[in-house]
């Protein structure tokens, strides 16, 4: 090679890439450490949702103390819908139905003896709801399970509604 130009030409023809004689990926992959997530991301979302629901209930309870004439549900509805919408679907269902259920139970004064053991009946539904929640831990946001949980809650509410109406009829009958 006699000239600078010849050297430059030879250099320009050298490859910019050289493949290693063997695949190095297996050795590299074996040494890759799993990514460390920040602590707030490591907690399970269900646990955070539960914490949020408890916190919200506390806030609502405090607001009720401030405004005694207002119902809990009304206070609930006053909360920003975006906040509520940000909760996982499972927690939205639980929060809304449990609230209504609590109100219905609170409004029950005297239950007709004709109804039977209504608390046992409610406990059976609660047990079924717990089983669906367990299944949701393994299959979060599964639409079928969410619908099933919603259906069970609705059955509970319908049952409570029926009990309270029997109670009312009983009162009316007694008055007459």
């Amino acid at each position: 090679m006699k000239t600078e130009e010849q050297l430059d030409q030879a250099l320009s023809r050298l490859p910019r890439e050289i493949q290693p004689p063997r695949d190095l990926w297996a050795g590299i992959e074996a040494q890759l450490e799993p990514r460390q997530q920040p602590w707030w991301k490591r907690a399970q979302p269900q646990r955070w949702a539960a914490v949020l629901v408890v916190a919200l209930t506390g806030v609502l309870w405090w607001q009720l103390q401030e405004e005694p004439g207002q119902s809990l549900l009304a206070v609930w509805e006053q909360q920003t819908p975006e906040w509520f919408a940000a909760l996982p679907a499972e927690q939205q269902i639980i929060a809304s139905y449990e609230q209504v259920k609590a109100e219905q139970l609170a409004s029950l004064t005297e239950v007709s003896p004709d109804v039977g053991d209504w608390q046992y009946q409610l406990a059976i539904w609660d047990q079924a709801i717990d089983q669906v929640r367990t299944a949701l831990v393994w299959n979060p946001d599964e639409p079928f399970l969410l619908a099933q949980m919603q259906g069970l809650y609705q059955q509970q509410l319908d049952y409570l509604q029926r009990i309270s109406s029997i109670d009312a009829d009983y009162d009316v009958w007694m008055e007459n």
Binding site: M1, K2, T3, E4, L7, A10, L11, R13, L14, P15, R16, E17, I18, Q19, P20, P21, R22, L24, W25, G27, I28, E29, Q31, L32, E33, P34, R35
Partner: protein
């Protein structure tokens, strides 16, 4: 940066190894080239390559996309290879026989070049004195400026330029020996 590449980077940043494997496949050739040329030894180049990709994996969450991934990744590769070259040059000079064997194994001749030309040039580069070789590889093959090379090697910019010209003279001499 294409949307697809961006998605792959984001997945790798979150810890997706398959996505990182794609990035490895895309860049390993260029990373291995700088390692092999600086270290002059296939085994050391492989070890360096592994170290570099492990570093890239560790630092990938810091990559914000200010430069291209290739530029960012290659900067890590070059600096790591220089660190290893610096340690290595204290220990020994590259064994010329070993370099010959590696050059054969890598099939360094390229299309468009005279038979043996690429291989001869690669071997001639390996015969250069350590610092002249590093400066030459970084300037002529990796595209760094003398100011950058001076910083990376811890020498004056003038020294980098002088080493480069010396390297060219030596190369012309080595290649004209036949």
């Amino acid at each position: 940066m294409s949307a697809e590449l961006l998605r792959v980077i984001q997945l790798a940043q979150k810890g997706d190894r398959q996505a990182f494997h794609l990035l490895y496949q895309q860049h390993v050739g260029r990373v291995y080239a700088v390692c092999w040329r600086l270290l002059g030894d296939a085994q050391k180049a492989e070890d360096a390559c592994q170290e570099i990709f492990i570093k890239v994996w560790q630092r990938l969450p810091e990559f914000k996309g200010d430069s291209s991934l290739g530029t960012w990744l290659h900067s890590i590769a070059t600096r790591t290879a220089i660190d290893l070259w610096r340690q290595d040059k204290r220990l020994r000079f590259a064994d010329s026989e070993e370099v010959n064997d590696t050059a054969d194994a890598l099939q360094l001749d390229q299309q468009g070049s005279a038979p043996g030309e690429g291989r001869d040039l690669e071997l001639a580069i390996q015969r250069l004195p350590a610092q002249a070789k590093a400066v030459f590889i970084l300037f002529a093959l990796e595209g760094y400026q003398h100011t950058e090379i001076a910083t990376m090697l811890g020498i004056a910019e003038g020294s980098s330029k002088a080493q480069y010209h010396r390297a060219r003279q030596l190369l012309r001499g080595f290649l004209g020996e036949d």
